[in-house]
């Protein structure tokens, strides 16, 4: 750090080392078409998936584009309010903006009829009993408290059905996953089905819609 030469008037006073510069910006947020349509379903206690074409993936919630095709998702499909836990973590720490009592379980849940898991809470079961493959169902807020937000589903709870041991976990092929090197050989783009050309992919996974 170079030596600083101060004018006489500042040599014997306490130096400022930090400064508070609070700043606030106000925005008006609008969520867009796909999210608005999804949330319109939520206000009717329906979970509406969207897809780009009748053969493509069903996304819940869709965010505006099928991310594999790069296309809008105009088609709406109601999916089930039950699904399977594909993974989860147990949270033991109070987080910014979260009013949850700890410990609680945050899980990836693949709803029946959807192709991508949503992240949501699991309750009504001790955290240490949550399992991958467990079947769960949505628990809604009281009707008066339903708002256009996924938080209108308070949490998911076990249905009591047997676990789905064959739950489809995305990417679980090639031994352990899409990005595995098998026998020292790297995967290639052809490991997965190209959604535009239909080429690539394996019989194990990828041919389906």
């Amino acid at each position: 750090m170079p030596e600083i030469q101060l004018p006489a008037s500042l040599q014997d006073v306490e130096a400022v080392r930090s400064v508070r510069t609070p700043a606030r910006l106000d925005y008006t947020f609008t969520p867009g078409d796909a999210t608005s349509r999804f949330l319109a379903g939520i206000t009717q206690k329906k979970i509406i998936g969207q897809q780009a074409n009748p053969d493509s993936r069903v996304y819940v919630p869709a965010r505006g584009a099928d991310p594999e095709l790069g296309a809008a998702t105009p088609i709406e499909v109601e999916v089930a309010q039950v699904g399977t836990v594909t993974s989860f973590c147990v949270v033991n720490l109070q987080f910014y903006g979260s009013g949850m009592e700890i410990p609680y379980t945050s899980a990836l849940i693949l709803l029946d009829g959807a192709d991508l898991s949503i992240m949501h809470l699991i309750q009504e079961i001790p955290a240490d009993q949550v399992r991958i493959g467990m079947r769960v169902e949505a628990v809604w807020r009281d009707d008066a408290d339903i708002e256009p937000t996924l938080e209108s589903i308070k949490w998911f709870r076990p249905t009591g059905e047997p676990d789905d041991v064959n739950v489809r976990i995305p990417g679980e092929i090639r031994g352990t996953g899409l990005g595995s090197w098998v026998g020292g050989v790297a995967p290639t783009e052809l490991t997965v089905r190209n959604p535009r050309t239909g080429e690539g992919g394996t019989a194990e996974f990828g041919g389906e819609g």
């Binding site: 750090m1 170079p2 030596e3 600083i4 030469q5 101060l6 004018p7 008037s9 500042l10 006073v13 306490e14 130096a15 400022v16 080392r17 930090s18 400064v19 508070r20 510069t21 609070p22 700043a23 606030r24 910006l25 106000d26 925005y27 008006t28 947020f29 609008t30 969520p31 078409d33 999210t35 608005s36 349509r37 949330l39 319109a40 009748p54 105009p74 088609i75 709406e76 499909v77 109601e78 256009p148």
Partner: protein, 159 residues
């Protein structure tokens, strides 16, 4: 399967990005802010001899460290200005005012400030100005409450 329903009313909600950022100043900018608290204005001497205000930590041409701080001002002249007819709530002054770039006495580069003046016709390039200090100062650019024309100094001080 249903067809896409006509999107109804567009959802909308406020989004506020707000934080009390705490910035470390380093020694040069720290000295500038210290000066504001003490009602002293300082600049840094660049390699070409120019005095830069607010002080640059690094030579604006070569990028080398600058280390010599010198006292400047407190008066200066307007290098350029802009008249704000309808101030924004975030602006430093509530009534119509002028943004000014002020070249302080002893400085070679001007600094930005808000000038309180009677109207657009009162402001001109080359006019002399001086700072009006905030009553409570903490080492912040807001320690200069605003600037006033030297001729209008008395009126400015009262305001």
């Amino acid at each position: 399967m249903t067809d896409q329903t006509e999107a109804g009313e567009i959802l909308s909600a406020p989004l506020i990005i707000e934080y009390p950022f705490k910035r470390t100043t380093g020694p040069i900018i720290g000295a500038f802010l210290t000066g504001l608290r003490e009602q002293v204005l300082v600049g840094s001497k660049a390699e070409d001899g120019r005095v830069i205000v607010p002080p640059a930590e690094f030579d604006p041409v070569s990028g080398n460290d600058l280390t010599e701080l010198v006292e400047v001002g407190p008066e200066g002249v307007i290098a350029t200005w802009a008249w704000v007819t309808a101030p924004h709530a975030k602006h430093p002054l509530d009534d119509p005012f002028a943004w000014v770039l002020v070249t302080l006495d002893g400085a070679d580069t001007p600094m930005l400030g808000a000038l309180k003046a009677d109207g657009i016709d009162a402001v001109s390039t080359g006019a002399r100005v001086k700072p009006v200090w905030a009553e409570e100062r903490e080492g912040h650019i807001d320690d200069i409450a605003h600037w006033v024309l030297v001729d209008d100094a008395d009126e400015g001080d009262r305001a």
